[in-house]
Symmetry: D4
């Protein structure tokens, strides 16, 4: 596995990352990591590699866009000194364009998304071992659906940023597409955005596979 | 308007009809009609035709399928002696096939749907002035979406039953399709089923237009 | 319809406008517009003219008099940059004179009402497309009732201000008077002030008629 | 005072009597008598005539009409063996005709009211020392108001029954009329039915005066 | 009656005065006066002399001693500009000596009590029409009981202050003593301090008698 | 200590015994014994004689009189098969005579108290190792106080029953009298009946002393 | 993987299985499977083998012993017609002997445990495809700890039953022992019984490994 | 007994001391001392030596380590002017090393513990009559258990500090060890740290014995 002894791994993102984590600091006893993919990843790391002492921190906040991340980057990422950083952002950047089309001040269009994400990655790369970039996703199999189409474009931005800055890339949309061949979206997420436990396990597996987690250990 | 002086109009259906109405009897003071399309229809009838004294009753129950309606038909429809009856059912009959694919005992397939709806209409027609049949709907513009496709088939059943038994037919799916040309589903219903106030107004307008409500009166 | 593509329409007023809207800003998802006439107007605008993208904002606050509006005018109206503005105020200005006769510091008498309303209209007219003035009302059919009598005088003030400054005038008292011919006040509002859904629909229809809303579209 | 040593005085009626009394039995410690006129009467009896040991019981139930009283008369009056009985009923009998005009099964018209009240008084007179009949009331000064007009007719029924069966008669409407010369209804009861503390004191004083309570003792 | 047209009457004291009044200002609609003797006095003033428009304000705060009153005198009395002022204080000054004997910093001994009460009366007399001084009380018939004995001494202080500064004097202990001849303390107040409705009526009657209230009006 | 290995000790009584114990059965984990003297006794037995395995059960119920105990004796005592039984009852038998003097059906006078207590002791003595009788008490130092005087008479009954049937006798009134020489009642129990922790410790010590508990062990 | 297309897999047990599942039936939407190892197993089955349609049902109930399972076996297992059945029971059978040593009627000793478990397995084997037996566990590394020692004996019983009746055997104690080499019990379960998410993942992995789940699929 | 007339005794510590005491100041009526060993000690002092007027104050705060005590020492100890001071701290200093091994910033290792405790004792000795030092404890009988082993080392530090500075030393671990010979930890504290009432009584007895409390008085 790529993660080594004693590393601190920080996750940042929106409600999919947040999942009712402890505030202000998402670490410690009593479900402090929330109940989403972050907590599944932590549980597998602790139960499979208890000897490594990997420290997992959750800094997701519901409703966040990349613009919100930028605003709290200093406090919630830089001063936390993570060794590894995982970012999954973009769902709300896109969603607000579709569920609140008239409130344009809440939309984060693709140029701003690209620039801001790039800026955050560039600023943080020098002070971390590794950055993982997870795409935003939309649990909708129809690629001509307007919101899915836009989300795919944001996902492509993430891929480019990952390539350009040597980050580990996790394509969450691809992971969901695979189970959407067998399951209808409503059985994974009623609003096609907030996954149930099955959906969060899809995310956790994608992440763990990307860091070469050894399932058979 | 087709509704005459002193008539009693009863609505039956699922959560879209229910909308937190008073239980067990959905009539009277203090929001007893709930906050969905039934309450909008009532408010327009009372404010525009206060002199007619139209009595509106809501008997929707969340989660119901046509199978559930059949079970409570005697108590909730027949013994209520309505002059007019409006039925909107079928969403859960279809939805469970997609969000709970493994629990087949909860699925109501199209033959049972057709037979049961027909039976209820035939039994009730002789003892009412008029029956209104509203289609179930799915706020999804992609007609190739699996659930939308199935819902359309159930809607076609409703149309046939209405034709065969001289009921007033309200095509709610058509009504939603029109605004879906301008709006993305997420701005009307996060789960594409439970409409916000805009969506309930679409339903109420379709119903009122179908009974020749005079908006200019 | 008078409202054109992309306009922002802001409502300000007291509890009849407020109706449990989101605070501090009454706009967005999840019933942010409250459950009164503002939400009905918005639902009809969105469902009938979805292509126009009319943005509706609710800035009503329970218990407000025109004196309170003046105090928060800069923050809640001017800085919001509305294209259209609708004002319905005056009920509490009058009501406190009758339910709290001894607390005279809470009464807003007619001269102050006239002056303040005029001042607010004059200040705002140059920076908006159009202002709608809705009268306060009292759901009491007896014009000799002391509070109804006073309310009618405040309503006359509103009419004059509307005439003098070329505002759209909505006579809500007239609208209620019409249904009071058939219905007793207690069936619309237990305290003759806070309308039920039927009463709010009376208000919404009066407003929509005044801006030439096309019900048949 | 007419009430003698050791008498049990039972009050029955609707929400004005009930006022959140203890259920099922309205007697004992901890506000068991509710917070309306019954509790004021009791407090004056206990504080002025502590040596008499008058036992007060409250059997009011919110929403009751005379039809409801009849149904629970055996359990809530006869088996309680009161020495004195005070009845104030009729507000809901009238109110439902005005706030729920379409639900005619909830209206208790004047003939039924007269017959039922007479029947209850005749049945109970032989087994009590004295019956007090208090009129229903409506805190509305306009005698041409439709609901006030009807309430006055029910009040006249009470007067006749009191005369015919030698009961003590308390005209609560008269008592309210007197203060309505100085105060607007809204300062006593927002819905013109449920009095505030001032209104309940009007009721208590009328009752106590009618039984020759000695205020100077 | 001594109170004239349009006077403002302010009550200040401890929990017996407070009784769950509105905070910060104890005046207005919705039980703002609490549910103790202040609200009974107000209800009798409004119902018997509605034409006088007497304004009643409650500024009692639970747990207060005369030391606490002094601290908030400017804000809660002087700036309120009352015409009449009623003070009932001293119960906690004494009680803490008996229920918390070790926390001497919470005890207000009789010299401080005398000086502070005198100071407050002297400062306020010139700017009011009249001051009413009500004694503290203890609902304990045994005058040799240690706490009753002390309370009587504090009551004597109040009497002296009233005499020296021409205040109306209300001996609440005397009033309770009278009904304690017939009733055991536990039937009026479980802790011998916080009266039930009967006890509060004893207080209200004492006050109203002292200002020549006309019960027969 | 008199209690031997493996004995089951059951306490029955009123609210002083109950103290929020688990219902229906007062034994087991999670504060099942309540927070009164029973729990203190148990804690001392378990911490000082852990090797004995004494089983403590609490069957107190708030508000109970000896008449109530009789009614539930079969279920709550006999079928529980206790080795030792402790009874403390009588406070409510007396209290109701003083706080609810008019509700005579709730009073349990001294003859009935004596007879019922005797009957219960006689019935249970043959099937238990030992019965402990604790007197009721009143935390009032004045022996001429009417309720204290009555309580002392009930205490004398308990002493006689204990003597006649060879029960262990615990004089709780005596125990309280001793600390009342130094402390005022209000510092132990605001209503002179429900003790705070200091008062419950007085009860527990009296009981433990009576069964020869070895404090120095 | 051993589980084939369309199989129904039912879990039964105590609080470790229950984990706040839906009652009475632990299957369906909205976290119906609880938040313990059952929900993790289900999430991995659905996300990895969505095409198989494995139906998972949770019938755990907090506090249960094998004696309780026997009582509800007909209703909660037999009538559910599972294809696969997983049983994990015994923790409370042992725990009550240590946390409630005096309440012997709540202890299930090893002979009864063995007999009952055997009986349930024998009765159910003929009507299922396969039974999985998971041992109870105690998250305590010291094998000489009294409770751990007893738990190991119950685990040995499970192993024997599994061998004798050809069940799949899952040694949960072994699985925990492995991570206890690196982690102190308090970091997995404060009471050494109810695991946090890491502990439940240990259980889920043991189960999935035992049925040849393909982690790499 | 060592404690003399009128002394103030202050307890400071972590959750075992806190036990839901009043905040910010743990003294006064209404369970202000919490429900742990502090309240038991107080109850025995007040009930056995009521004439001494010993004042007990609780300043425990859940989760505190010695590092936290140092931070609030000025406010919570020095300015309180206690005559006697009892300190029981260290459980969390150790526990966090075992339940949160990765969050090293929360660990207080033994050197810091020793230094800080010594510093606090030295600073406070000159201004108090006497300091009592109670060891931290772990309700685990296995002395080879890693956390018990560490706790014993911290306990040894306490003993040394007590010896060096002439403090009264209370070995709480020894006290628990004695009952652990008969009882399994789970019957005293589910997490082996937070004692039930039996455990708190063990602590209270140890303290009272150490100050020569006379149980037979």
């Amino acid at each position: 596995m790529l993660l080594k002894q004693g590393r601190k791994l920080l996750f940042i993102g929106d409600s999919v990352t947040d999942c009712d984590r402890a505030k202000p600091h998402g670490e410690g006893l009593f479900q402090a990591l929330g109940n989403g993919y972050v907590s599944i990843i932590d549980a597998f790391l602790q139960s499979t590699y208890p000897e490594l002492g990997i420290r997992v921190v959750n800094k997701g906040i519901s409703g966040n866009t990349v613009r919100d991340l930028k605003e709290r980057w200093e406090e919630d990422v830089i001063t936390q000194n993570p060794d590894w950083l995982s970012i999954m952002i973009g769902i709300n950047d896109v969603w607000r364009q579709f569920d609140s089309p008239l409130m344009k001040e809440k939309h984060v269009y693709i140029e701003e998304y690209n620039e801001t994400l790039t800026e955050l990655v560039k600023k943080t790369k020098p002070i971390t071992d590794k950055i993982v970039l997870m795409t935003p996703f939309y649990i909708e199999p129809n690629i001509e659906d307007a919101m899915r189409h836009t989300m795919d474009q944001y996902g492509a931005v993430v891929k480019n940023v990952a390539n350009d800055h040597d980050c580990i890339f996790v394509n969450t949309q691809d992971a969901f597409n695979k189970i959407l061949e067998s399951l209808y979206p409503a059985s994974i997420a009623w609003d096609r955005v907030h996954p149930n436990k099955t959906g969060h396990t899809v995310l956790a597996k994608s992440f763990l596979d990307a860091i070469n987690f050894d399932w058979q250990k």
